[in-house]
């Protein structure tokens, strides 16, 4: 199936924003459908891939895909952080956006079948991991333990609360939460994600971990996961870079000898270590 993925390379395909959801402060989810039915039918992704999204009149930005490759509504979740994302946040349902992609390698799926899967996310780092979580849940019997370790600044900064509730309702989905400072009514942990990871009893054998969050959190979490005995080649992350083309030509996203848009955005920690650059 994967070989039939034909990305939209040069001219963006027009899509309609059909629904907008307020997630947390400054982060909204935009559900979209392609205007051309044949594209709507043919558009396929792998979890972990990204698209280039055009906000007409403002520009284009790279954004990770939070939806599962199977049976999930197409959407992106975007923080208002720069010129183009601010323009995106101005959009109303019915407005048009342009899509190129999907680009990039994506998270492993077949290779990790039969293994325990740990997801560690910080803040909006849960957005790119969501795709893999939903996909693995759709094939739950093929995998071992599933554990989500999720931290944010405050309880108001936790993404996808509805999705998380659904996941918790399915069988065999462990969750652990933490927020930076105590809050009235909060029953989870208080502290940083790496501290939460340190205190958990996590499997190490036959286990892969997917980590996504701000660089400081990432490095601290990796340290803890390695102490737990998880191998560097079994720790995956998805990196973010300034991107202009998505097809390996503009070279803005170069890290070491690789380009995030074609060689990434998913890397193992072992690969990241050899790139010789900050993440």
């Amino acid at each position: 199936m994967d070989n039939q993925l034909v990305p939209i390379v040069t001219v963006p395909e027009v899509a309609t924003v059909v629904d907008i959801r307020e997630e947390i402060a400054d982060v909204r989810t935009f559900y979209f459908t392609f205007d051309r039915p044949e594209i709507e039918r043919a558009f396929r992704i792998r979890s972990g891939q990204f698209i280039m999204c055009t906000v007409f009149g403002a520009g284009e930005f790279a954004v990770s895909l939070p939806f599962s490759p199977e049976n999930d509504r197409k959407h992106i979740s975007v923080r208002k952080v720069g010129k183009v994302t601010a323009a995106l946040h101005e959009l109303q349902p019915g407005d048009k956006i342009g899509i190129r992609g999907p680009f990039g390698n994506g998270f492993p799926f077949e290779e990790i079948k039969g293994k325990n899967v740990i997801y560690v996310a910080g803040g909006i780092g849960l957005i790119p991991l969501r795709s893999s979580i939903v996909h693995v849940l759709q094939h739950r019997p093929d995998f071992g333990r599933m554990i989500l370790v999720y931290g944010a600044r405050s309880s108001r900064d936790l993404m996808y609360k509805d999705s998380i509730r659904e996941w918790q309702a399915t069988r065999d989905f462990e969750t652990h939460f933490t927020i930076d400072r105590p809050e009235p009514g909060w029953t989870g942990q208080v502290g940083f994600v790496n501290q939460l990871v340190a205190g958990l009893n996590l499997p190490a054998e036959n286990t892969v971990a997917f980590v996504c969050g701000p660089p400081v959190m990432f490095n601290a979490v990796i340290k803890e996961l390695k102490l737990k005995g998880i191998k560097e080649q079994d720790i995956y992350s998805t990196l973010e870079r300034h991107m202009k083309c998505g097809i390996g030509k503009c070279q803005h996203c170069a890290i070491g000898r690789t380009l995030v848009c074609v060689d990434g955005p998913v890397y193992t920690y072992r690969q990241i270590k050899t790139l010789g650059e900050q993440i």
Binding site: E60, I247, E277
Partner: protein, 352 residues
């Protein structure tokens, strides 16, 4: 091999001008510099001129190029997107071997990786290339160190080597063969091949000492850059020298990083343009929200030379990323053109 008498060069160019926009070296009246650009007046073509100030890459990757035009009406929710393809056929006449190798690097990068760059391809497939052997090197040149000159080996439609009152003409393609036949050029005779070899050998032997001394060190630098065994102090020194002006990238035949921006026009539609960019600029890697993974200038400098000489990058170009034209050394106000960087790496190795 064929023979093109000097007084027939004009006929050749006129013939090309019937189907192509002709680009070539000419002397700029105001600055006195030799520039490689579109020849509005064909008689300005100067095949004897020194290596041009700029490489020919703008013929394939214009400094400012509109790639799409779109119009979005929020009222009617209608979007029209138009792909811009006003690419004209171009003949590049009198390319130096380094610059031709630069184009071959760009070809392999834009056409030979995971994705084909459709916009570059449009330009590339409409190109006619006539290379011109450097019968004597220019002071800035070190193509002998990077295996890219002084004579072209491949990639041309026709190749010229000046020999006395005319040019020896090598044919490199069917297009080239057709043109030679149309002009009625005569065969250059059995000694032509030897003559060309002799001219090239003489040119090689007259390269400056700095180029010849650097020859072995370029490959040592490649080794060091690839394995990462260069002390941070070397990059810090190079970083301190850098003005972050981007001139090296703009005059480099193989630098091809570009930016993409949507520019709103006053008359309504928006142009999507791609423009040259340079990894020496601080904003190059800066993301929305101000995180910049490559903020210190030495981290950015290090990347440029990694691109020019590392083995990993050579795998994309199928040759070193530097073609030895010496332009970066000529324009750099901080004196960190590529030959100097090789020298700094050499000093680190030998402890000079």
């Amino acid at each position: 091999m064929y023979w093109l008498p000097r007084d027939q060069v004009r006929a050749l160019v006129n013939r090309l001008a019937e189907s192509y926009a002709v680009y070539g070296p000419r002397r700029d009246e105001v600055s006195g510099e030799v520039v490689f650009d579109r020849l509005e007046e064909l008689e300005r073509l100067d095949l004897q001129a020194a290596i041009p100030y700029n490489p020919p890459k703008h013929a394939l990757l214009p400094q400012y190029e509109e790639i799409l035009k779109y119009l979005y009406s929020k009222q009617s929710q209608k979007v029209t997107i138009e792909k811009i393809s006003k690419v004209e056929p171009k003949a590049l006449v009198g390319l130096r071997a380094c610059d031709l190798n630069g184009i071959l690097c760009l070809d392999r990068f834009f056409l030979g990786q995971e994705f084909v760059d459709e916009i570059y391809l449009e330009h590339r497939k409409k190109l006619f290339i006539i290379s011109n052997t450097c019968v004597r090197p220019f002071p800035q040149c070190f193509c002998v160190c990077t295996d890219s000159g002084p004579a072209a080996g491949e990639g041309f439609d026709l190749d010229l080597t000046c020999a006395g009152q005319g040019y020896l003409v090598l044919v490199g393609s069917k297009k080239g063969q057709r043109l030679v036949e149309e002009l009625g050029l005569r065969e250059a005779g059995s000694e032509a091949q030897n003559l060309r070899e002799k001219i090239v050998a003489e040119s090689v032997s007259s390269f400056d000492n700095f180029a010849l001394e650097n020859k072995a060190w370029v490959s040592r630098a490649t080794n060091r850059l690839t394995t990462g065994f260069i002390k941070p102090e070397v990059w810090e020194y190079i970083g301190n020298q850098c003005f972050e002006c981007g001139a090296c990238s703009f005059v480099c035949p193989t630098c091809s990083c570009f930016n993409v921006e949507d520019v709103n026009r006053v008359d309504g539609p928006t142009d999507r343009v791609r423009t040259w960019d340079s990894c020496s600029f601080e904003g190059y890697t800066k993301m929305a929200g101000d995180h910049n993974p490559r903020k210190p200038v030495e981290d950015r400098r290090n990347k440029r030379f990694f691109c020019k000489l590392s083995y990993s990058q050579s795998k994309k170009y199928l040759r070193p990323g530097c073609v030895g034209c010496g332009r970066c050394a000529r324009v750099c106000p901080g004196d960190i053109g590529l030959p100097n960087v090789v020298t700094y790496i050499r000093r680190e190795i030998t402890g000079e």
